[in-house]
Symmetry: C2
Amino acid sequence: MLPLVVLSLLLAVTPSIAVWPVPRQYSTGTTPLRLSSSFSIKFSGIEHAPRDLVDAVARTTSYLRTDKLQALVPDRGASSARAIRAAKSLSSLTLSLSTKGKVRSISEEAVVDVESRIEGYTLTVPANGSGASLKANSTLGLFRGLTTFGQLWYDWEGTTYTLQAPFDINDSPVYPYRGFMLDTARNYFPVSDIKRTLDAMSWVKINTLHWHVVDSQSFPLVVPGFTELSAKGAYSAGQVYTPSDVKEIVQYAAARGIDVLAEIDTPGHTSIIAKSHPEHIACFEAAPWTQFANEPPAGQLRLASSATTNFTASLLKSAASLFLSKFFSTGGDEINSNCYAKDAATQADLAAQGKTLEQALDTFTQVTHRALKDAGKRAVVWEEMVLDHPVTLANDTVVMVWISSANVAAVAQKGYKLVHAASDYFYLDCGGGGWVGENINGNSWCDPFKTWQKSYSFNPTANLTAEQSKLVLGGQQLLWTEQSGPSNLDPIAWPRAASSAELFWSGPGGDVSKALPRLHDVAFRFVQRGVNAIPLQPLWCALRPGACDLDA
Amino acid sequence: MLPLVVLSLLLAVTPSIAVWPVPRQYSTGTTPLRLSSSFSIKFSGIEHAPRDLVDAVARTTSYLRTDKLQALVPDRGASSARAIRAAKSLSSLTLSLSTKGKVRSISEEAVVDVESRIEGYTLTVPANGSGASLKANSTLGLFRGLTTFGQLWYDWEGTTYTLQAPFDINDSPVYPYRGFMLDTARNYFPVSDIKRTLDAMSWVKINTLHWHVVDSQSFPLVVPGFTELSAKGAYSAGQVYTPSDVKEIVQYAAARGIDVLAEIDTPGHTSIIAKSHPEHIACFEAAPWTQFANEPPAGQLRLASSATTNFTASLLKSAASLFLSKFFSTGGDEINSNCYAKDAATQADLAAQGKTLEQALDTFTQVTHRALKDAGKRAVVWEEMVLDHPVTLANDTVVMVWISSANVAAVAQKGYKLVHAASDYFYLDCGGGGWVGENINGNSWCDPFKTWQKSYSFNPTANLTAEQSKLVLGGQQLLWTEQSGPSNLDPIAWPRAASSAELFWSGPGGDVSKALPRLHDVAFRFVQRGVNAIPLQPLWCALRPGACDLDA
């Protein structure tokens, strides 16, 4: 009988599984298995498989052929060549739903309220070559399982193989919200960039694109009834998202299990609206901008004006109707009070109504949120709307914490559902230097760079009571694009943004040293699939797990 | 008569020129001028134009058609449309050499000793549509002038135009060495990436690729007579630079006015040599690596062994013969003395010879540098070789300062020619977070990120006497690739690496606020030409010079 110390050592070296995010429960073996050249994915008991599920199967089959990802070992698999050749081959994976009745599409299941999404699955890959099996309670779950199946394999000279059969996986996410935020206002991204990003997100089971679509610098969203906003406020006639672009993005996302949570930030971050509606904007391009806004150009919606309030409510309602999501964000961050103090129109409105600025903000928020609610949307706001302003919010409002993770507990104390998006862990733009023109020694305000290890180490329930912990919906990494565009979208985001994907799917407490080899797999697989993920280390380190740890 | 204060104000608003690096002397006008659809570049008095000059003319002509770079103004040129349509058109640019006799090719002139390169030119573009003229004393100078000519123009709806004719430019570099360093050992870059980088370098008149080709992690260089080094030490059989690859790179570079200064770092940074020659390497992959090397894996050449010394000398000589450059770097940074203290073979060699480690290093250096000198090369070393080790070096040795700009004066005091490459100004990898596997709060050792403004603000002769200042050959930005590969080469390097290109061509003291609009032009032009330069600011700022300065 093995003494206990040796047993725990054996447990410690149980091989990992090259799946990201790591499944909640899994076991692997040590038997080589290869994919048959006639390998196929079938349905069992699903008579009319939804089109998006059929497409997902086709993509999975294609990736299995084209990934050609070599194992991250020094000889890349050469020493396993004989075992691979001699291995039994797997000829099929069979998908089945454990529920009866009408089969909903992945797209339908992806856009239900995030708290109701069903993403779990079980996946069994026997070692003897008999058929593999994937079961779920939803097509969305089947899609997650397909994604996992696609990550079990390496390539050696054209053979797709694993050395770890059999697999037994029983998986589901710890947190329902796992997002990625993209800002398309500071710099514009073509639809193709967004679609490629959605693919990448789906590969690590991220289920929400938080789309910060417009801001003070540009208004690329073509909103029905408000087309003057993009006509005058987009960077150019071509740098817009038309309703058909939005539809394409929303459908592309949904088919990949991703909900698109759009944001039109109000009342701040709206300067560009003045290009078509100067009557609605206070302190438009006021100088020095440092006194009127956190970044240029200055300009905020005249929240005390009923005309502006109604305009905003109608705009939000029309914009929200472009999206399938149950959520819509009205932002609410970085409201600059000096902007309103110096705006004669706002001061006149406040005086006429006998209101303080905060009372006006409360009215503005109630009216605009009511419009969203009428459109069937739950409101999402940034943390200032509950921490800094005494505004009335619906109980089901979702709050995003961005300034600091230290503010999470205060938001939870207010009783709102919350999403982790704190700059000290999750901002992808930090550490890239300051972008203000003439500031020679300027650095990014949220220095230093947030490494994948940093975001991976985050504890979603730190300083929360058990009850408050239930308010945590999940979290996301965020890309503000003052210094990003199509040229660096992939490398600034990937594979880093996968770290929160695992944190919020598999749960916290993961060991970075054990996670790193799998994250290397993510990065290299992304590159094989056309997403320019960066190498996290010299390849020498990637091929030798642990060898580039500090204590190695 | 204008009062003096108004006059100086007028001078201050003299329009800039969208050329990077900014010419030493230039004047511009305010007359619109467009390129004729039949525009052509001709030679005058150059009967047998070298092939590389003919090719450079063809590339310039092609860029003039394909750049399609819109002016960085809010309307992108729309309000100038009428003036552009009504403008006179320029039908030709004529190139001539002011010297007589045999015409040398750009390639020949690019690889002479850096202190003898002739890069000046004069360029005249009249406003009246009569032919433009480019004159130089060398084909290399003509190439620099062609590069400038290609940057004078914007596009509006298919018309290539300027609003600033006439141009009178008299240009030459302040410093002879303007480099870019690429590390191809931590991660490998295909030849196509290096060629694209050479193109980008040439567009901003960088004249030296400092190619840190091998290191401890991999040995991708196929060296005649030493092919076992890459056979065993490259990341894979495909991730190598064969002699024919090197020839292709060297010729491609030279045709673009770029010398390739190769480096085989010795005696440190050589661990991978042990894969084929374990007898030559001390402390091979010794653990913990932190005690034996600055990064994993540990391993250094046994500098006290005469066999190893001769091996190294022969290797350097063979490697150097692959390159046309008059220079070759033997590195010499980060020699770890503990590695040798713990190496029995080295200790035995030292004891047998009755030498200290430093005496052995001196012998090693003299023998290896003698081999390079016999091969016609000037040696280049990192700063430690003159500041930390009492080794004998030839007077014409070039020293690169990398640890800190604070060490420049000490190197100058030793009387060596020097190249600025200090981490506190010029390292492109700083600020990207730590890459050691399990270090959650680790950041790059040279934090923070070095912005373009930071490198641009460098003073090459700070703390140097007038006499010492003559030792400064120039400088470069450097990309160490622990966290870089093909996926982020362009965005991490460009447009930032253009900042030192202007600093060392046009001289120090440039105003970052005035430089920024031109650097935006560089970035956008690079993107048009297929190099993924990043946006330095939101496009809103790029279209409004100064509006995103701190005091705007």
